[in-house]
């Protein structure tokens, strides 16, 4: 397949492309989907740690 005889290699080649495409699809689905989850306040004072 793809000029590569060893299945372990063409599988790696295909897996790379498929996983990158999977990332594109996953990202795109989340992109068009829904509202913002929450509004974040910048520089909000936060509690310090205890020691």
């Amino acid at each position: 397949m793809l000029g590569i005889d060893d299945p372990q290699i063409w599988l790696a080649y295909v897996s790379c492309v498929v996983s990158a495409l999977g990332c594109v699809v996953y990202g795109a689905l989340n992109w068009k989907d829904g509202e913002e989850e929450q509004v974040v306040k910048s520089s909000t004072p936060r509690p310090a740690v205890q020691e």
Binding site: C23, V24, W31, P47
Partner: protein, 552 residues
């Protein structure tokens, strides 16, 4: 690389002008602590993903690993798959959202502060900051050396001058503008890298007879593999090494121990999860992150392996022979002889971008670790009169000087191991408690402290006294005990990650189960979906001074 130097210098000047413009844009928006340390927590997902990828991929990952693929073949593509799956998908979708949310709920602005506040321990924050401040300069030094050597060969300028000018340029916008400047510049540089690698792939396939044709020719070249490589298991550039052979073990351990797992606990990468405004932004960022890593590492490995076809056709020799056995010279040699001159110039900017973006991320992470985490929070217990930004700037200046000094002082044998040493140390020290912080509510402060200390000391001990690849060039074991490594047999071959990381996980679990769980109310606050403001009476006053919000 032999290209028209005057044209290249003009291109570099235009490139630098663009960088300073973007850095200035970031600086003008970094008016508060969150802006300087965390880019304002509302960075666009695409910018976050490009910045994460560009910080992750350095020039040596393209030139060095491309050369390694030219020697070992396409089996390294499994590493690309691991990088995309763990380094992007798992990192952005599983680790990212919880890191962002807990970081926001507890007001953390750095990775050590995230750990420190999650475990309510200034020790963890200070110790982590010190660890990063002391050992990241080794890694930063190695990237600086790589960049300076690259500038020396491409622009024909003096090595020492190149090192100095490269450092000053990056330091100027990192110190002045903070993380937002760094991320804007990263996004620009990441785009250049993406375009450069895309053209490289297309040129290569077109030149060598298409995807299938090029691969088939490489497959047919298997009998040309040098005997020395055949003896250790090499079966051709489009075949995996024979099962259980030394080469197979090398590839296997690189896949799992190297970038695959180590990337999850890199402070300069993890902090970027806290720069976006919501969980969905992290999921959106996957759209850019996955293809970016494919185009960087994937293309470097494929083109590196295919360079054998080009060299065999044009010179009758395989890539390794053309480069005189030095894998680092294969990609530059291929670029110079196979690619059009204008593209070579553009590609040099892509490589310069790869080096600059990695260094910029390191400078920011080291500076915040030393100035804010170690000094302000660890030593001064949050009572420093300095603003966070001021302390961080001093920390950056100090750690950049330290990195440059190391780049001058340390022998090349140690610098060559610096990246692996730092990644290994981060994995053993941070991965167990970082995972515990995100996914295991039962982990306690005591468990985290013990794990952090055991993981870091264990890793440092193993690489100094047992693991031959570091112990021999360091020479500390030889000086103290009169022998190269304390243990013999197969032990000196076992990577520190394999020893120190499981040990640190074990210690975290055992000590946590033996100690009192953290307060339920605090854990609710950590994991809550919305930032809580009403429970602040339960804790000490805010650690960042009011002056933090002053304008930069």
């Amino acid at each position: 690389m032999a290209v028209d130097t005057s044209t290249l210098i003009i291109l570099v000047l235009v490139y630098l002008a663009s960088i300073f413009y973007l850095a200035r844009m970031g600086y003008r928006q970094s008016s508060q602590t969150d802006g300087y340390m965390l880019a304002g927590r509302k960075v666009h997902p695409a910018i976050m993903a490009l910045s994460y990828g560009a910080a992750f991929i350095s020039t040596s990952a393209i030139i060095g690993f491309g050369g390694v693929a030219a020697s070992l073949g396409m089996g390294l593509l499994w590493l690309v798959f691991m990088n995309i799956f763990f380094g992007i998908f798992i990192a952005f979708v599983i680790f990212g959202p919880k890191t962002r949310r807990i970081g926001l709920n507890l007001g953390a602005v750095t990775f050590p502060e995230f750990l420190g506040r999650r475990f309510q321990s200034r020790f963890i924050q200070g110790f982590s900051g010190l660890l990063i401040g002391l050992f990241m300069p080794l890694y930063a030094g190695s990237v600086l050396i790589g960049a300076a050597r690259f500038l020396e060969t491409t622009l024909g300028i003096n090595y020492n001058f190149a090192l100095l000018i490269f450092t000053i340029i990056i330091a100027s916008y990192v110190i002045k503008g903070g993380l937002l400047s760094v991320m804007y510049v990263d996004a620009f540089q990441g785009t250049l890298m993406f375009i450069g690698m895309a053209f490289l792939l297309i040129f290569t396939y077109v030149k060598l007879g298409g995807v299938v044709g090029a691969h088939q020719t490489l497959t047919d070249m298997a009998p040309l593999v040098p005997q020395s490589l055949v003896d250790i298991g090499h079966q051709g550039w489009t075949a995996m090494p024979s099962l259980g052979s030394p080469l197979w073990w090398t590839m296997f351990s690189t896949l799992f121990l190297g970038v695959g797992i180590g990337v999850l606990a890199q402070p300069q990468l993890a902090v970027r999860f806290m720069t976006v405004k919501d969980d969905r932004s992290l999921k959106r960022a996957v759209l850019v992150g996955g293809p970016f890593i494919l185009m960087m590492a994937g293309v470097a490995y494929v083109v590196g392996a295919l360079s054998n076809v080009y060299f065999y056709r044009t010179t009758g020799q395989i890539a390794l022979e053309v480069a005189g056995g030095n894998t680092d010279l294969i990609m530059p040699a291929y670029l110079n002889s196979a690619m059009p001159e204008l593209f070579v110039m553009f590609f040099m900017l892509s490589l310069l971008s790869a080096a600059m973006s990695t260094s910029g991320a390191q400078f920011h992470a080291m500076g915040t670790a030393i100035g804010h985490d170690f000094y302000q929070e660890g030593i001064k217990k949050g009572k420093s009169k300095d603003t966070t930004i001021h302390a961080t700037r001093i920390g950056m200046a100090f750690s950049i000087l330290f990195s440059v000094s190391l780049a001058y002082i340390l022998p090349i044998s140690i610098i060559a191991r610096a990246t692996a040493m730092f990644m290994g140390l981060c994995t053993s020290a941070f991965l167990p408690i970082y995972m515990g912080a995100l996914f295991w509510k039962r982990i306690t402060r005591e468990g985290a402290v013990a794990s952090l200390v055991v993981g870091s000391v264990g890793s440092l001990f193993w690489l100094t006294f047992v693991h031959a690849k570091e112990a021999i060039p360091l020479g500390i074991c030889q000086a103290i005990f009169g022998k190269a490594t304390l243990l013999s047999g197969t032990w000196p071959l076992v990577d520190p990650i394999l020893i120190a990381t499981p040990l640190a996980f074990l210690v975290a679990i055992v000590v946590s189960l033996a100690t009192k769980p953290m307060p339920e109310k605090f854990l609710d606050k950590c994991y809550s979906l919305m930032p809580q403001d009403e429970d602040e009476d339960d804790f000490e006053p805010h650690a960042h001074t009011n002056a933090d919000t002053a304008s930069v």
